[in-house]
Amino acid sequence: MQTNRLDAHQLTHTYGQGDSAAPALADLSLTIGSNGPEAVAIMGPSGSGKSTLLHVLAGMIAPDAGRVVWRGSDLATMRDSRRTKLRRSDFGFVFQSGQLLPELPAIENVALPLMLGGGLRSGAEAAAGALLHRLGLGGMLHRRPGELSGGQAQRVAIARALVGSPGIVFADEPTGALDRSTGQAVMALLIGATLGHGASLVVVTHDAEVAAACSRVIRLEDGRVVSDGPADGGADAFAHAGAQGAGAQHAHAAPAAQPALVDQPTLVGQTALIEQEPVRWGAQAPAHPAPYGAPEPRGNAATPYPEPSYAAPHSASVPVAPQSAPVPVAPQSAPVQHVTSYGAARGEQQVENPMRQWIGQSAGVPVANPAHGGVNGFGGAR
């Protein structure tokens, strides 16, 4: 099996010439996905080179110098036509807006990458329909982008990015055109669904909340990496909960810090993929009878058509023992008492209970802020 590892070596890229030359990337090296799928945020002030880095990593532009190695091939030296094909087959993209073809209904927008890859229309639409159902857009398959809200359109874009089973999804300010709560829900879905598909996510953002939802944050200044490490907030907490949770032993053979598709909820990273019976929201959501020849259910085969819900924890409360030392050496663990999350099942609204399975499970308290009393999976506390 090919590993989804992207290596960038000593990237240099400059715009303009002579006195007006502005270095966008200066001898920048990094690796993404070396230990399995991860969600990486690239942050930095305007002009720090983050968009250039994304475009170079995704093979949209060739750097002046340096190498970008994906699955053993150097993108920088590849012919443009081959890079185009590779973008289609191996990468997924989510932009700020304006990326869906306005004339095509949602299902055809999502099916297009598969058709471009030579897939049959029927199969492509079956896969697109199933994916849109999973992302909570089952009722909007035939709406055109102009008939969708901004958040819905971004979910269609996420479906399109994932439909070809990419190794990496690149996102450029994916929530930039959305209001805060819609943006949080879209981000939760983007991370959850991307990692759930076994792909890494690379997201360029100005937004600290978006970055906090990722498992790793790379900060750029003047085309150089100035910091590279885990996101602030509760990433460690949920990683530990996942490692200690009852379902962890069913996880794929992936490191504990990585997401996995399991029968039981695994609290990994900051976003969990829960594969289960549909969470029913009153009379609004009938169970979907596996439309469009839905794929074989993953996980528990006894469930006729498990519909996964993607949800991101917003905050979880754990009791904090009185601290004697100012900073504990290892994270504390405590049972989760209350979880609030954003979930795809309910569109863009904040919902209270899709992660109630977490309650009672053990969660670590962030080392950096032991007296916090809560775990913020998504940046700001409520």
């Binding site: 968009s51 590779l86 289609r88 095509l104």
Partner: protein, 435 residues
């Protein structure tokens, strides 16, 4: 006046862009076609007034030339509109920047209108020269048993001025209309909701025309003069424009349902999105091809040496030629304007890994599909008339063959003109990605 001065300064600073040139070319073709058609009408009028031809025949040919002119006028109008769209295609960035630095809405509108009118003026001048240049060629064509003279084909000066004024006026009106749309709904540009709904009144209108035609021409409910019959025939022909877009939309819908290739799907969806735009390219051509097919039978069915029958076939051939040229220029211009309008879409597709041939194939099919439905359908209808009567024209097949060649030629020229928009797809899609 500030707006005029600012506009002139910007024009001097940036110089004309490729789209300005294309748009002026479109205005030039529209003007030249308009003047050529008016020249023909003028020649028949002069011949009738000077008594050079039999009065009855002369009046009939003059009326028929009006029908042909009426058929071509919508194409001229559409071409001018497409030219305006092209002229305004790049306006958004510049206008937004101007608004940011404090230009008022009316100043910005004024500048956009000046853009369109300036290009129309250039186009009118070039088009008039083009019309003068082709007049000796047209004069070689024989009508009513006599070749035209250059003098006959040159209408009075006031007609030239009126024609030029009309083209500039169309540019002005189309520019104002286009800007008003932008003003009323700023989001309307970016967020298109649903396809353009075609009113079902189109079917009712078409049926009404057909009923009137049957009552007056076929059944003769009341006795009418020949002129009324000809007017009814031209109204019937023009009413095709009512149902044409509906038919094209319906066929495009079938194509979208059955499409296996992404470029076909994309093209069909775009035609469904704008069936009137698709029909405008092929409308005049299809009617000319259908009428030309019927007219091509005339020489074989008439008495030998009857100039009227030959005139009908020649007139139909000329109409196909002019409609073909207008359709071709329109296809090239309209597709170029669309590529520029959909710049962000094309850039996004390129980023997503859509191959250029797929994007370019969609642009070609967007024209090929209406051509197939419109011109293909018209040719098919004409063939229904022509093929069963082949015993009649086998001995005198030249006019039928010329018709077939003209029809095929019009399609080929239109596709070739569309292909001129393809390099633009590459340029727009692979434009430097902003940092």
């Amino acid at each position: 006046m500030t707006a005029v001065r600012l506009w002139a300064r910007l024009l001097r600073a940036t110089g004309p862009r490729a789209t300005d040139v294309l748009s002026a070319v479109a205005f030039a073709f529209a003007t030249a076609a308009l003047l050529a058609v008016l020249g023909g009408v003028n020649a028949f009028r002069v011949r009738l007034e000077t008594g050079a031809v039999d009065p009855a025949d002369g009046a009939l040919v003059l009326t028929l030339s009006f029908v042909a002119a009426a058929l071509l006028l919508p194409a001229v109008w559409t071409l001018a509109q497409a030219a305006v769209r092209l002229a305004l295609a790049r306006r958004d960035d510049r206008l937004a920047a101007l608004r940011l630095v404090g230009a008022t809405r009316s100043q910005v509108s004024m500048m956009a209108v000046l853009d369109a009118v300036a290009q129309a003026l250039v186009g009118v001048v070039v088009g008039a020269m083009l019309a003068l240049a082709v007049t000796p060629g047209i004069a070689r064509i024989e009508f009513q048993g006599l070749p035209f003279t250059v003098a006959e084909l040159l209408p009075p000066v006031w007609v030239w001025l009126a024609a030029g004024g009309a083209v500039v006026g169309i540019a002005l009106v189309a520019a104002l209309a286009s800007l008003r749309r932008v003003h009323v709904t700023p989001l309307g540009v970016a967020q298109r909701v649903g396809g353009k709904r075609l009113s079902l009144w189109r079917i009712a209108g078409f049926l009404l025309v057909v009923a009137g035609y049957i009552a007056l021409v076929v059944v003769d409910v009341v006795p009418v003069e020949l002129t009324v019959v000809i007017v009814m025939i031209s109204v019937l022909v023009l009413s095709y424009a009512l149902i044409g877009p509906l038919v094209i939309q319906g066929v495009a819908w079938l194509f979208a349902k059955g499409a296996r290739r992404p470029e076909t799907l994309l093209a069909a969806r775009r035609v469904i999105d704008d069936p009137r735009g698709a029909f405008n390219i092929v409308g005049a051509m299809s009617i000319a091809v259908m009428a030309g097919g019927a007219a091509s039978l005339a020489p074989a069915t008439a008495a030998p040496g009857d100039p009227f029958a030959v005139d009908i076939a020649t007139g139909a051939t000329l109409t196909i030629a002019i409609a073909g040229v207008l359709g071709a220029v329109l296809a090239g211009i309209a597709q170029s304007a669309k590529v520029l309008d959909q710049r962000r879409e094309h850039q996004a597709m390129h980023k997503l890994g859509v191959d250029l041939p797929v994007m370019q194939g969609a642009i070609m099919r967007q024209v090929a599909l209406p051509l197939l439905v419109g011109v293909g359908g018209a040719a098919g209808m004409a063939l229904l008339l022509i093929l069963p009567t082949f015993a009649l024209w086998m001995g005198n097949a030249s006019s039928v063959l010329i018709w077939a060649l003209m029809a095929v030629g019009a399609v080929v020229v239109t596709l070739a003109a569309t292909a001129c928009a393809l390099p633009l797809v590459r340029r727009v899609a692979t434009e430097a990605v902003p940092a």
